[in-house]
């Protein structure tokens, strides 16, 4: 029994929406459950009665209030911002300069460096955190948030450089040779010609730098042990858990708020985010 093409198309669509729906439940249940828990009263979280998947005894902002008044959450937030802003700036400056030089100024070894950059991008943080722990100790930066400013660029710069090389390579060479004849120096050329054309790439690279710096967990966990120096990820995981009594409401409020900046950035700049994410595979 074969239906009309139109009926078959409708059936296909229904199946597709069913599958997409199932994926959405899987993907979005954890954040939903976190948000729900953060708004429930402690009595409701502990209660074994009723349906846990909705709020039945009224929502409360108590966990959020407590987070700001009774925990070090604001200290972690401040430290995360203090680490992330200079990390992003330094990483972007290094990446832009290197990408410009590697894509335009042919010099001996540029090709080898380009390949090297890509290989370094593949090095995960859990491979080198132990020697880096010793290096950070040698620099006198153990238990300081500034240790992160030293190590995060190693995770950010290779990818950003590689991404920007791709963007710069798409700018026609006639443009910079004309500028050179007009007497522009390399700095002027980079700022006036390359950066304006590569804005989408710069945004994608900046988002990547921000996300890596904000979400990093292993390095702060390994290098920092004082609450006053800790950043949001490691701080939320290690110190908002008090003894044996898990403050689920407060914990989820903290985890959710700390997750918000990258999620918001993503929500507003989704297309740039995705272009950066897929650059590796589609350009490849």
């Amino acid at each position: 029994m074969i239906g009309s093409p139109r009926a078959r198309r409708t059936a296909t669509l229904l199946v597709c929406y069913g599958i997409v729906g199932a994926f959405m439940v899987f993907f979005l249940f954890p954040p939903y459950w976190m948000a729900l828990t953060s708004l429930k009263t402690n009595q409701e979280i502990e209660s074994l009665e009723g349906i846990p998947l909705i709020i039945q005894q009224g929502a409360t902002l108590k966990h959020y209030r407590d987070l700001f008044t009774k925990t070090d959450f604001l200290v972690y937030l401040k430290n995360s911002v203090l680490v992330t802003v200079p990390t992003v700036l330094v990483s972007m400056v290094i990446s832009v300069m290197a990408a410009y030089a590697l894509s335009r100024l042919g010099f001996l070894g540029a090709g080898v460096i380009g390949t090297g950059v890509f290989l370094v991008y593949l090095v995960p943080d859990s491979l080198l955190f132990i020697p880096l722990f010793k290096v950070i100790g040698g620099l006198g930066l153990l238990n300081s948030k500034w240790s992160l400013l030293v190590v995060y660029p190693t995770a950010i710069v290779p990818f950003c450089t590689w991404l920007l090389i791709g963007y710069f390579a798409s700018i026609p060479r006639e443009l910079d040779e004309a500028a050179l004849v007009d007497g522009a120096n390399h700095f002027q050329m980079l700022v006036r010609i390359f950066l304006p054309v590569a804005v989408p790439g710069l945004i994608a690279a900046t988002i990547f730098a921000f996300t890596v710096s904000w979400s990093g967990f292993l390095y702060p966990l390994a290098f920092i042990y004082s609450s006053s120096e800790q950043v949001l990820t490691a701080g939320t995981v290690t110190s908002l858990i008090k003894g044996d009594v898990y403050h689920w409401g407060g914990l989820m409020a903290g985890a959710l708020l700390a997750s918000l900046p990258p999620v918001l950035l993503y929500a507003f700049l989704m297309d740039y985010y995705i272009s950066g994410l897929t650059a590796g595979s589609t350009k490849a």
Binding site: T37, Y100, V120, I130, V135, T154, V237, A258, A284
Partner: protein, 313 residues
């Protein structure tokens, strides 16, 4: 990349014949290119040499020392690890975790990409956007959310299981279920990356291929088998290798959910190295554990590079 273009080389060669002041200036500038290039790349090179290459060799050096880092003990740390049951458990967990997680992420990611690709274009944006949320949330923090989901008495997962007539599980306390739980979170986190990559791949397949296969009377399964999959072959291979590296190096999920427990059944190389090197203070042994990851990473990286070279040439 980064080669002097033929035009520039021609200017270079022809210049000495007729040297006008403007040409001379241009010549100097072109010669200074190399110097400027090296100066501009210097921060990158220093960063890679100082904070990646040097730590790598330093890790090898550290792994050859005794616990107090006072004496050279050769390969004793590696030999010691190979005699320990816990270490072999870590190897087993890492292998199972990585292979199962990568396989499921690829299957689910491809399925979702194909399904979204079939939907009307206007809606695709929304589904694609929502799908990426697990990937965008900081993993340590979403793992905290999963930790609470897995809580056995007050949380959602067991409540739903009981509702459906199954017996509740103590997710993170039983070895099998703990491994399952950790793998599930990794699949949740990584599937969006596969989906978005495959979706970009699907969009780049020329529509004519499908049209001509439709004329040949190919059904949906045949189109998938003979058009879509061959066209995505390279992207699939690169994502699998790339994900193998990232998944093998997983740290956040295990550290937050189980800290390697119960009885070391969920430790991966990264978390076990952390436990030994940072938490217990045996830096050389921790460095040795991390280094066991290196051969797998190197082989994957080699094939990724080859795959990329092949598709660009």
């Amino acid at each position: 990349m980064g080669r002097v273009s033929p035009d520039t080389a021609a200017v270079h060669a022809a210049a000495p014949a007729r040297v006008t002041p403007a040409r001379a200036r241009l010549l100097v500038r072109l010669r200074s290119r190399s110097a400027v290039g090296i100066v501009m790349t210097l921060p990158l090179i220093l960063l890679i040499v100082g904070l990646v290459a040097y730590p790598f060799f330093y890790a090898i050096y550290l792994s050859l020392l005794n616990k107090r880092e006072t004496a050279f003990v050769g390969l004793d740390n590696f030999r010691f690890l190979l005699t320990r049951d816990t270490f072999w458990l870590v190897v087993q967990t890492s292998f199972l975790f990585t292979s199962l997680a990568v396989l499921w992420k690829a299957i689910l990611g491809l399925t979702l990409a194909l399904v979204i690709h079939t939907l009307p274009p206007r809606g695709q944006r929304v589904w694609r956007g929502l799908s990426l949320i697990p990937w965008v949330m900081p993993l340590a923090l979403s793992s905290l959310g999963w930790w609470w989901i897995y809580e056995p008495t007050h949380s959602a997962l067991n409540w739903v299981l009981v509702l459906l007539g199954f017996s509740p599980k103590s997710w993170l306390a039983e070895p099998f279920w703990a491994r399952f739980s950790v793998t599930l979170v990794n699949i949740w986190y990584g599937t969006p990356f596969f989906m978005i990559t495959y979706l970009a791949g699907l969009k780049s397949i020329p529509q004519e291929l499908y049209e001509s296969s439709a004329i040949d009377g190919a059904n949906a399964a045949q189109r998938l088998r003979y058009v879509t999959l061959p066209m995505l072959k390279n992207i699939i291979a690169i994502t699998l290798l790339f994900s193998t590296i990232v998944t093998l190096a997983t740290f956040d999920i295990v550290r937050v959910l189980t800290r390697g427990g119960p009885r070391e059944w969920t430790h991966l190389f990264g978390t076990y190295a952390f436990e030994l090197g940072i938490a217990s203070g045996d830096v050389p042994l921790g460095a040795a554990v991390s280094l066991f990851m290196f051969p797998i990473l190197a082989v994957s990286a080699f094939f990724i590079l080859r795959g990329i070279r092949r598709s660009t040439s």
